[in-house]
């Protein structure tokens, strides 16, 4: 069993959720990029759920920012969620890089799905 799984959840219908769990760095980023590519390829909104992630580094942020850019260029919503109590190894890098409003990052997965469905930039604007 993979201790650091990255799986696609399409239960939300027109929004695909990329569920990222465990620790992720330069070693697992190629897999994350593949999953994000697959999610973008489905044509709907994209949510990246980091609720179960315990560590992400700048390699992961790079993959998320690339995916966000491509999703927005294609007119697809892109939102990241971290749950109500994100791990320090996730929240810290998002906070100090100022990327929370950029990606954007919100807590609730349900709210993230709604935001990704509603608007291409996930901000309701």
């Amino acid at each position: 069993m993979d201790a650091n799984p990255i799986v696609l959840d399409d239960a939300a219908g027109d929004v695909i959720v990329v569920v990222v769990e465990g620790e992720h760095d330069i070693y697992t980023t190629p897999t994350l990029r593949e999953r994000l590519d697959e999610a973008i390829g489905r044509g709907g909104g994209i949510v990246v759920d980091l609720t179960g992630a315990t560590f992400v580094d700048s390699s992961v942020l790079g993959a998320l920012l690339d995916a966000r850019r491509r999703a927005l260029e294609a007119g697809q919503g892109f939102v990241v969620c971290v749950g109500d109590a994100a791990e320090p190894g996730v929240q810290r890098i998002l906070d100090i890089t100022g990327l929370v409003p950029v990606l954007p990052v919100i807590s609730s997965r349900d709210a993230a799905v709604d935001a990704a469905r509603a608007t291409p930039n996930g901000t309701g604007e």
Binding site: I26, Y27, F55, S58, I93, T97, G98, L99, V102
Partner: protein
């Protein structure tokens, strides 16, 4: 360094080694009863330093990643070292995972002290220290400045803000 480190790791500079270093560091810091917030910062900073070695140090050739850790009453000192192309990291476009360019700004923000040594053709050494107890957040004193450039890499120019569009 005048005395031998408490922990010395030497391994091929490959992506799979970064997690090995991180787990070894976490085990040592747990044994020394570090604050979880400091441990989280240590893991992040060391991961970024090791990632820099993997991505930038050796270009198309194989090389080694070296990590030394020394403990003292004050905290931990960590050295991350390579013997590669030197102190001016360039984007290595041959790698599958392009760099965002955030590594050194993150290390500077997350460590209590940070030094970068090296020269072209003679490798690079990053030295970081982390205190057991902090009176202030180092990221507040050395914030990550800049934002995303048009090329998708981090532009450290503090006059830039991260675009939101």
């Amino acid at each position: 360094m005048s005395t031998a480190p408490d922990v010395r790791m030497t391994m091929p500079a490959r992506p799979e080694g970064v997690a090995v270093v991180r787990q070894a560091l976490a085990g040592l810091a747990d044994a020394l009863d570090f604050d979880p917030a400091v441990l989280a910062d240590m893991k992040m900073a060391v991961s970024e330093a090791c990632t820099n070695v993997v991505v930038h140090a050796y270009e198309e050739v194989d090389g080694m990643l070296e990590v030394d850790i020394s403990a003292s009453d004050a905290g931990l000192t960590i050295w991350v070292r390579d013997h590669g192309s030197g102190i001016q990291p360039q984007v290595n476009r041959s790698r599958e995972v392009p760099a965002l360019g955030l590594g050194l700004p993150l290390i500077a923000a997350l460590s209590d002290t940070f030094e970068l040594h090296g020269s072209a053709g003679h490798g690079t050494e990053v030295r970081m220290t982390f205190a057991h107890a902090r009176e202030s957040d180092p990221a507040a004193e050395n914030p990550v400045t800049g934002g995303l450039g048009d090329d998708g890499r981090w532009d450290a120019d503090p006059s830039r803000g991260t675009p939101t569009g």
